[in-house]
Symmetry: C2
């Protein structure tokens, strides 16, 4: 029933490709991550993983996200609040806008912004290696967009 390893989640596939040992726990976490479109923290991942397989420990979740990050599968984000949050690595450089009332995180891209940041760094004599940018906003009392 489980001898079709190729049917694993996309992230589990990645693990296999990268040659890491595919344990039950990793498979579970990979599955959970593959299903996640948001930016869960470890606690939340632990919860989701437990829903799939209760025989998992939070230490393993910590170890696994770290491992996945080292392999370039995940990106660690810090939106403040003291806990790291994770998202799948994405090809596109993108940023985050956080709704200060609901906490909801929305991603966005902006080529002009990207270019401007590089220009600014260059002006200061630097090559831009990475950046951290989060916008915190309050939803407008929408008149047009209901």
């Amino acid at each position: 029933m489980s001898d079709t390893p190729s049917l694993d989640s996309p992230i589990a596939e990645l693990c296999r490709e990268k040659g890491m040992k595919l344990t039950g726990q990793r498979r579970t976490i990979a599955h959970v991550l593959s299903e996640s479109d948001d930016h869960p923290d470890v606690e939340e991942l632990y919860r989701r993983a437990m829903a799939v397989d209760p025989r998992i420990s939070i230490a393993t979740v910590y170890r696994t996200v770290r491992l996945f990050e080292e392999h370039g599968i995940l990106h660690r984000r810090d939106f403040g609040g003291g806990r790291a949050r994770y998202e799948r690595t994405d090809d596109h450089q993108h940023y985050h806008l956080i709704d200060i009332e609901s906490g909801r995180v929305t991603e966005f891209e902006d080529a002009a912004l990207e270019k401007l940041l590089e220009t600014i760094a260059a002006r200061m004599g630097y090559d831009l290696v990475s950046r951290r940018l989060e916008l915190f906003g309050r939803a407008r009392s929408r008149k047009s967009k209901a």
Copy 2:
């Protein structure tokens, strides 16, 4: 010799104006902050304060920066690495560029960037309340600027 309270550091003056009790420790920390142009973390502030008056505890430094932050005298910054860093509150909206080799932090302002961020938030239906932006760069192998 010390009955001219008006000769305190600028930040100590602020404390007085805001009506907070001006203890020896607070005066020391205010002094240290007034002399600081960088972005020290609590540990570093503690070190600097101790150099002035060794009878200070790190708990007091923590309490004081928190107090000052609540009174709008300081801004807490998070440049990653798990520790908060502090800087004097500044009228101008500014950002930080961190040299990834030396760790040195340089401040910069940029009106166009500011405007762009607001535009982006507006486009997404938000009023921009605050933002966090740090650029991490590597100093260019300067040819012109020695």
